[in-house]
Amino acid sequence: MRVDRLEADPTLSDGGAIVDVLQKVTDALRQRCAGVTFSVFRQDTRVWVPRESLYEVLRFLQQEWGFDMLVDITCVDYLHYRGATDRFGMVYQLCNTGDNVRLTVRVMLNEPDLTIPSVTSLWEAANWLEREVFDMFGIRFECHPDLRRILLPPEFTAHPLRKDYPLQGRGERHNFTALTREGG
């Protein structure tokens, strides 16, 4: 559900203040960057950003609007999702610890060009989170200081959280080379 104005939730005591801040942030983003859209679901405010302006928007949010904490980076593979038009959706969970405001930034990616700028230069927290997304989904982060696999071994070839990877694997466990005492 795409919206223009955010509504305060009357059941929350300080909901008004948070919505005020979010309203200002979203207005500023709209002026700054063309092509951003917003939606709200269960009090989560989400911002859809075009891929080319992702780094600029995140830098703007961190430096002008006090989103000083990067809570999480993750990715969703929309391969089998009903009505989806894009393959991958990146999710950046930001938090402004001063005003206690959360914001989700989304950007969509399609094959074959799965590269986006790394935000390690803005938040140190992005380092391992981006490595995990690279490991699990094969998204490449430009200018990342150390883009290696993190949870899976380096010789692993697939990206297992993609929807075209089967739950039970592709036989990696069974075809694992075993070292024997004689064979070396």
């Binding site: 679901f41 269960r42 989560d44 989400r46 000083d68 904490m69 990067l70 809570v71 999480d72 993750t74 969703v76 593979d77 999702y81 009903r82 009505g83 999710v91 969970q93 610890t97 206690n100 959360r102 989700t104 938040w123 140190e124 927290a125 380092n127 391992w128 989170l129 995990e132 699990m136 696999r149 993190i150 949870l151 899976l152 071994p153 297992p160 959280l161 990877y165 739950l167």
Partner: protein, 395 residues
């Protein structure tokens, strides 16, 4: 380059080492006894929990969350169903909220007791560890009488709990509340002003508030650095608005500060459990049968038409919950920090994507930053103070 680094030697710490407590590996570069560089190598316990989350339904997956942070499984159960209920838009009953607060806080006490105990153990204070472990046994006993399982509880369900609390369990919790403060005082007398312990912990692994926020750290580790963030206060979920408790913070940001914060959080958690257990609201634990989310009890199934329909709808394959095709992020304050789940619903009763935001993962990314410049013997002190649980780290 080789001539420059000739005097450095590399030490492989783990993956099997008593002081890592779980399975994780560090490659340390040492100059004498001083750590110059540390490269964590994780993933030894990776078991694809997020992939499994795309194949188990919202009630089944709670058994997997038990195995993430197995030191406080109840807190994970509460976190998982907090996110699920946010996605489904379910408002819990007051009694259920209070009971979830009680089990989450008992889990926090149990987690902190193990963490401070292991911190003591790693720097040579074995007695202290045993005091902590004795009290953890009592918490396991409470959980056993509450839900039948000591370790992997799986106590929560969508829209409620496995079953209600009994008067026997309430009495057990009251007993525990009466005896723990005395043990805590003993523990504090053993270690808090102990000169050897303080020398090992103070000034080691210092983290500033700015770095803590920039590196995404939350929970006791961030609060020890002076970040006053606690989701129980900042985004009051469940019934945390009803209770009087304080957020424990220090400014020092070293291992000793993290120890102090955890000890004080145990006392605050005791206050919360005390208030919750004495003001436990009456009424049902699960949401009503007409909401079609929780399995109704047998009496309702056999005697009311709504109960029968709900039971049928939830149990039959290809039926089940009706879930919106949308995405939410729900987070709670777990013992180690912010434990969040990012859920993508696709209309079926299985999540399309179940991302877990694990606090241990974020906290462990700090480790090279904290240890560089300290000695090899400080490695275990810093590791212990971060409370890394490898099953949650690797999922």
């Amino acid at each position: 380059m080789t001539t420059q680094q000739d005097y450095l030697w590399t030490l492989n710490f783990g993956p099997q080492h008593p002081a890592t407590h779980t399975t994780l590996r560090l490659v340390l570069k040492l100059d004498g006894e001083r750590v110059v560089d540390a490269v964590p190598d994780i993933g030894y316990l990776h078991s694809g929990f997020e992939k499994i989350g795309e194949h188990l339904d919202y009630n089944q997956y709670v058994t997997v969350t038990d195995r993430m942070n197995y030191v406080s499984p109840m807190a994970n159960n509460v976190a998982w169903h907090h996110a699920v209920e946010k996605l489904l838009g379910i408002e819990l009953t007051p009694r259920c909220k209070y009971l979830r607060v009680i089990v989450a806080e008992l889990a926090r006490i149990s987690d902190h007791l193990l963490c401070v105990g292991a911190m003591g153990l790693d720097v040579g204070a074995f007695t202290f560890f045993l005091y902590g472990f004795y009290e953890r046994e009592k918490i396991y006993d409470i959980f056993e009488s509450l839900c039948g399982a000591r370790f992997t509880n799986s106590y929560t369900r969508v829209g409620g709990l496995l079953h209600d609390i009994t008067p026997v369990t309430i009495e057990q919790i009251r007993d525990f509340l009466r005896r723990l403060p005395a043990t805590l005082s003993d523990m504090e007398r053993l270690l808090t002003r102990n000169r050897i312990f303080m020398d090992r912990m103070q000034g080691v692994g210092v983290l500033t508030a700015h770095e803590a926020i920039n590196r995404g750290v939350s929970g006791p580790v961030a609060r020890a650095s002076g970040v006053t963030r606690d989701l129980r206060k900042d985004e009051p979920y469940l019934a945390y608005n009803d209770f009087d408790f304080q957020v424990c913070c220090t400014r020092a940001g070293d291992c000793y500060a993290r120890f102090l914060v955890r000890i004080h959080e145990i006392r605050e958690s005791l206050k919360i459990v005390q208030q919750a257990i004495e003001n436990l609201p009456a009424g049902p634990v699960n949401v009503g049968a007409d909401e079609r989310v929780g399995l109704p009890d047998k009496q309702q199934v056999y005697q009311t038409i709504e109960g029968l329909i709900t039971h049928f709808e939830l149990v039959m394959t290809s039926r089940g919950f009706s879930v919106p095709c949308d995405e939410v992020y729900g987070a709670v304050e777990a013992p180690n920090g912010e434990l969040g789940f990012y859920l993508v619903g696709d209309g079926s009763n299985v999540a399309y994507r179940a991302r877990c935001r694990p606090p241990s993962f974020i906290n462990f990314a700090l480790f090279p930053h904290l240890i560089c410049g300290h000695t090899l013997s400080d490695v275990v002190a810093v590791l212990g103070s971060l409370n890394i649980i490898a099953a949650e780290l690797d999922r």
